[in-house]
Symmetry: C2
């Protein structure tokens, strides 16, 4: 039986990432969490706070991938336009979620402030909510699109509450050696061709004054992974070096 | 005279970013360097080591933006397919660059290793080279597409040698305050509407046990930026708080 492959696209929404002001860390976190759930991130896009760009990216991604996750643009200010863009992409009106409004009302504020905060209760008609364990307004989901906050702490909380219907989980094996990539490139190519279903990545590094290469194998078949790892280790030994465990980089 | 706007798209090529194994930092660095050169990054995509995906993204980006910068996939191993994809996207053959081959030959190696390393001399016909100050094989440029290494140190070296024909440089002003976003959201919206050419971003944070908001103004007109900054500071004071300089986040 062929294994079930479940895919995702991540849309990072925000001018601050594209201007270089902010280093995005959300993609990395999402990729790791989805990987464990058997969902493979196949593409990510960083797009500006621009309605046309967001709608175009949403419609591309929701058509092509099983899951679409967005981060950013669901706060209370004028540059928070993600909910409107999602409604636009799905061709549905924006409604006010009484459930989110209740959460917002729990924290008292003067009327004008409350009015701004109520922007966060606006969701596309037909959406359901994504819990927010940090206690603030929820995110929302419509069909295969999951809309989360951009603040990493809040995004991580929301993500932790989503149940993904994942497929085969991709596992990995890794090993490093103090060899140059070129030294083992031909051998790696041979090994890769013997295990076409496993992705063999080669990543050179320079650390503590020493050049080396990390080899990472990713696939769903544990037996093949083990065989491939043995083959890569043997290749390293053939080249007069010692296979080493990966340390944090 | 309308100011000249010069745009760029960044393509981050590599399975290791999408799997969550590696935290990308290249986009952030490129965005900052291009910004200083008057080139605005309007989109970034993270794509897998897959020929169709890379070619599609290249053709989209080179059509839509003034500059396209890629990172990753130009090493000596089987998973390094960026040069082939760029040649494919432009419909030109791959040739061997004698200039890169010379750099490669400077470091002696046994014939099979040298053969693998020579993969890095393969470039699309018509491309010119991007210097590599770290001493390794060069990157290359064809029309508006700039192809660089994925290793941050090497990419940064290559990027530093490229001359961009930039337009008006986007400058920024920033201020933070211990106010919630909602408290000043209406006022920010008013200010934004008075300066439509300046992008006013609002970024909530939680630091050292205190909630606050960073306000970032980005635009090319320094006089407008100063006026807008004064207006934002006045808004903060009206709300009973003190405008503070941005500290590193």
């Amino acid at each position: 039986m062929p294994e079930r492959v479940v895919t995702a696209c991540v849309l990072i929404i925000g001018n601050e990432i594209l201007s270089g002001r902010t280093q995005d860390t959300n993609l990395n976190h999402i990729a790791m969490v989805l990987g464990e759930a058997g969902v493979r991130v196949k593409e990510a896009r960083v797009i500006p706070d621009d309605e046309d760009e967001i709608v175009t990216a949403l419609n591309h991604a929701r058509e092509k991938y099983d899951y679409v996750l967005t981060t950013g643009g669901i706060g209370p200010t004028h540059d928070d336009i993600t909910a409107d863009c999602v409604a636009n992409a799905f061709g549905v009106p924006i409604i006010v979620s009484e459930e989110i409004a209740e959460v917002i009302r729990r924290r008292p504020a003067p009327p004008p402030v409350m009015e701004s905060r109520m922007r966060m209760a606006r969701i596309p008609e037909g959406a359901s909510l994504i819990d927010n364990p940090t206690g603030g307004p929820q995110g929302f989901q419509i069909e295969n699109v999951y809309v989360m906050a951009g603040i990493p702490m809040v995004m991580q909380g929301m993500l932790s509450t989503i149940q993904f219907d994942g497929g085969a989980v991709v596992r990995s094996r890794s090993v490093t050696a103090h060899v140059g990539e070129s030294q083992i490139a031909a051998g790696l190519g041979d090994i890769q061709s013997r295990y076409p279903d496993i992705d063999l990545g080669s990543y050179p590094f320079f650390r503590d004054g020493v050049y080396g290469t990390s080899l990472v194998m990713r696939g769903t078949n544990e037996a093949d992974l083990e065989e491939m790892l043995d083959a890569v280790k043997a290749l390293i030994v053939e080249n007069g070096e010692t296979p080493r465990d990966i340390v944090a980089e």
